[in-house]
């Protein structure tokens, strides 16, 4: 890294090297049986330079490449955007910090396989005929970021990830569930996810009809996936500064129900998006986005902060689009770390018990496909349940829901559960309660 910084520093006003070493070992299960043990050992390096006020970028995964990397970055800077990057200047080696758990690091191949088998067994005990695809993985990331302004940070992160896809084939029907749990520490999230799958499929034995009308709708933490994307687009600092966010110009306004408090919290131990610094080396911190219904702020990385006269909120993450995760060849963009909605005051059971006529939305198809910039969602319910007189009475099928996420949080919010759950989705990570909306249009199809 020093070599790269030295060489780049001679040709550029500013330079920043990002390096990630990854050691990952997933165990894959197909048809309920262990099918492959995989592994990745990688070292990837990204280089950003500022030449004549313009930003250039390159990356490499070649272990020895220095000159080529620097040349490509410098060359691309001739055409890059004009930037005002206030690169961080602090030096700190966080080491094995709050997002590292030795117990995860020490997991053996056998431990990982055992966990996968346990998940399969939990589901199979109640549903012997389901088809199960599963994956359990242990990953260690070592991240170092160094720049020409004196910034020099590093940290280690451990990741314990489990994935479950369960397909229940019924005589004329099928129910499918896909869920991922990710923590930085060792927990029983995999087993809990498997038990939750059993809970879900118990309600799939019969189908209950639904008529097109307005009714109570509960979003589980999994179902929240469909609201997450149109919601976080509103908080994107770049969109806000360009007046493209639906929340532009609404700072300090009451934008949703006063029971809603939403934060971006990268400091919470165990949560998958936690990290001491973002991918630009900026120290991260918890920030309120909505406090008691009032809009408090937007998310910025260095580049968008520089452009809009703001400070980075430590949300510069190397993810280039909604449908891709971290990538070494992505430049930082403002994304949420852990999107956290504060819990409500009613248990999940009491929440359901209080519903006369409604549905629970558990998994969706078409999440993220609405007009996200407008805050709109429109999805079909892939897995959902009918609630009648306080009881779950069966599965619902062929149901669509649509609306505007900020509208429903303003006008339709009824209750939030006291329990919160963390989900790790392709779109991002969030921790939310189950949320009930009243009087929401549901279309039966």
């Amino acid at each position: 890294m020093e070599k790269i910084i030295d060489l780049a520093g001679k040709q550029a006003q500013k330079a920043e090297v990002y390096r990630i070493e990854k050691d990952a070992s997933p165990a894959c299960f197909l048809g309920g049986k262990l099918s492959a043990l995989e592994g990745e050992r990688s070292v990837s390096t990204g280089l950003r330079v500022v030449v004549n006020g313009r930003l250039g970028f390159s990356s490499t995964t070649h272990p020895d490449e220095v000159e080529g990397l620097v040349k490509r970055a410098v060359d691309s800077a001739s055409f890059g955007p004009e930037v005002d990057l206030s690169l961080p200047t602090h030096e700190k080696h966080y080491g094995q910090c709050g997002c590292y758990d030795e117990k995860v690091a020490n997991l053996s191949l056998k431990d990982i396989v055992d966990t996968g088998n346990e998940m399969v067994d939990i589901v199979k005990t109640d549903f012997p005929d389901v088809n199960i695809e599963a994956e359990v993985s242990r990953e260690i990331h070592k991240v170092s970021i160094m720049n020409t302004e004196g910034g020099n940070v590093s940290f280690e992160k451990s990741i314990h990830q489990s994935f479950l896809n369960v397909l229940l084939m019924l005589p004329s029907d099928r129910a499918e569930l896909e869920d991922t749990r990710t923590t930085t520490n060792l927990t029983d999230a995999p087993q809990d996810m498997a038990r939750m799958a059993v809970w879900r499929f118990r309600h799939c034995k019969n189908v209950k009809p639904v008529q097109t009308k307005k009714m109570t709708v509960v979003f589980t933490s999994l179902g929240f996936r469909g609201l997450f994307v149109p919601m976080f687009y509103g908080f994107n600092g770049e969109l806000a500064s360009k007046n493209l966010s639906i929340l532009s110009d609404k700072l300090q306004d009451q934008i949703v129900d006063s029971r809603i408090t939403l934060s971006d919290d990268p400091t919470s131990p165990g949560l998958p998006g936690s990290c001491p610094v973002d991918d630009e080396g900026v120290q991260t911190f918890r920030k309120s986005l909505i406090e008691k219904g009032v809009l408090k702020g937007f998310l910025y990385d260095l580049q968008t902060a520089g452009k809009s006269g703001q400070r980075s909120t430590g949300n510069g993450f190397k993810k280039s689009s909604l449908y891709t995760g971290f990538s070494i060849d992505a430049q930082p963009n403002p994304w949420p770390s852990n999107f956290v909605i504060a819990p409500g005051d009613i248990s999940r059971e009491d929440m359901i018990a209080g519903i006369k006529d409604g549905i629970i939305v558990d998994d969706l198809m078409g999440a993220g496909q609405g007009n996200n910039l407008n805050g709109e969602f429109s999805m079909s319910v892939a897995l959902g349940y009918r609630v009648e007189n306080g009881e779950i009475t069966g599965r619902v099928k062929d149901v669509m829901i649509a609306g505007n996420v900020f509208d429903v949080f303003q006008n339709n919010l009824r209750a939030m559960s006291s329990e919160v759950y963390s989900e790790d989705t392709l779109f991002g990570r969030y921790t939310v309660p189950w949320i009930t909306f009243g009087n929401m249009p549901v279309s039966a199809t």
Binding site: A36, T60, D75, L167, M169, I328, G370, M400
Partner: protein
């Protein structure tokens, strides 16, 4: 490097071993409005070792091939730890081949300077933004990928392959009162900068379309007779049916397999679907797949009956079918899995005018958004639609999604057009476990098609 790979293979005690080494350079340019958003050039270098021992896979992905024999040992250790599995590989004839790029120097996208490319795309982005006050933002992106793959396995297959993909898209975002809408148009090539230059011709259409769209009415949901344009119809057949044809989705699932028995009726007699990597120079074309199996061209549905599916050597053997050359990976970080290549609805006899005739109340649905499928259920968003009243096209409609059950919807396709068109940009995503493999170069093709009784969702 080839010697290094061959030696590592020779030194392995696995039942089967394959090694892939990949060196990809990628140039990316994007504009947002008048600002260049990024100009970058990156290199992705690495490989994997995959071994099969006692029917179980072990896989190690790496960046540094200097220690190849250690990496082989690590993959073997994993395969052994996985115990006795049930994987077998379908027989294929070993091949040794070199695939070179054969491109006219003057028209080679790689020979166009970054300066010229940036100027070209800047001009497009500016023209979109300046075309109307209603257009509040514009976007252009371009990615050029030059990939060199070495592949060898213990059966004697040895391949040295070079491939070029260049593709992008332009978009216009418009606003009228509180309605914000975007319209997108993709472009791409395997070998010609002139193809990319044709993006210029799309600027006016994109601008006109987005202005129509922001003034459009929201759709009222319900069931309609719809005509899908080739772009959306291509997305539809890819998402709703193509993914279902991937053999790894059904091979371990006897009940789903039952519904996917070859010979089962899937559509009306005039309806056929094909997939194949062997078409020349399309976005999803290649000579050999990522297991070294030659690409081919196959019917997935022929004259309405299920006729084939997409295989890796593993799934072909387990289902007792022929390998099709559809084992693909997006890069060396992942094992190859069953993927599509160039998927398309085979053109039929009908003209667009014939399709319009006799529709009392329908929609002409245009432009593909993203899609989602789950073992036969599908939902995806469309860019926009026009009302059809008594066989005549009417005003624009916005914010629609289409959804349904593919087994039912395919049978409701009652007319297939004669105007096949394939996508030249975009990519396909597929998750294995928690990890998404996106974007894979594929093309989605179709003529106009007419479908009865489609569920349209909206606000």
């Amino acid at each position: 490097m080839k010697e290094l790979i061959k030696n590592a293979i020779a030194g392995s005690g696995a039942d089967f071993i394959e090694i892939r080494l990949e060196d990809t350079t990628r140039a990316g340019i994007s504009f947002s409005g008048k600002d260049v958003k990024k100009a970058q050039s990156t290199r992705d270098y690495g490989g994997y070792v995959r071994v099969l021992i006692n029917g179980s896979w072990g896989f190690t992905s790496f960046n540094n091939p200097d220690y190849l024999s250690e990496l082989v040992a690590e993959a073997e250790k994993r395969a052994r730890a996985a115990g006795k599995g049930h994987t077998k590989l379908a027989d294929v004839t070993p091949v040794q081949d070199e695939i070179h790029l054969d491109i006219d120097q003057a028209d080679d996208p790689r020979n166009i300077s970054l300066e010229e490319k940036v100027a070209f795309f800047r001009n497009i982005s500016h023209r979109i933004l300046d075309s109307s006050k209603m257009i509040i933002s514009s976007g252009v992106n371009y990615v050029e990928e030059d990939r060199h793959i070495l592949y060898a396995n213990s059966e004697g297959t040895c391949l040295d392959m070079r491939g070029l993909w260049a593709a992008g898209g332009l978009s216009a975002i418009g606003r009228h009162h509180n309605v914000v809408q975007s319209v997108h148009s993709g472009f791409g090539t395997r070998n010609s900068w002139n193809d990319i230059r044709s993006a210029d011709d799309r600027v006016d259409t994109v601008c006109e379309d987005v202005i129509d769209l922001v003034k459009a009415k929201p759709v009222s949901g319900g069931r309609y007779t719809v005509i899908l344009d080739p772009r959306l119809s291509g997305v539809f057949i890819h998402e709703a049916f193509g993914h279902l044809s991937e053999a790894d989705n059904v091979s371990d699932n006897p009940k789903l397999l039952d519904q996917m028995t070859l010979g089962t009726r899937f559509g009306q007699d005039h309806f056929s679907v094909m997939d194949g990597g062997s078409l020349p120079d399309e976005r999803g074309s290649y000579s050999y797949d990522d297991e070294g199996v030659p690409s081919s061209m196959n019917y997935l549905i022929k004259d309405g009956l299920l006729a084939g599916r997409l295989h890796t050597r593993d799934t072909a053997a387990s289902m007792g079918e022929k390998p099709t050359g559809n084992a693909r990976t997006i890069n060396y970080r992942f094992s190859p899995i069953c993927r599509m290549s160039n998927t398309f609805i085979v053109p039929g006899p009908h003209s667009f005018e014939q399709m319009l005739e006799g529709i009392p109340d329908g929609l002409y649905v245009v432009g593909g958004g993203s899609g989602n499928t789950s073992k036969g259920l599908f939902t995806f968003s469309a860019e926009r639609a026009r009302v059809i009243k008594n066989g005549k096209l009417g005003g624009w409609i916005r914010d629609l999604t289409l959804s349904g059950n593919v087994f039912e919807t395919l049978k409701d396709i009652d007319m297939v057009g004669n105007d096949l068109n394939r996508s030249r940009s975009g990519g396909c995503g597929k998750s294995v476990g928690a990890r998404m493999q996106y974007p894979l170069s594929v093309s989605m093709g179709s003529p106009h098609i007419r479908i009865q009784n489609v569920l349209i969702g909206g606000r």
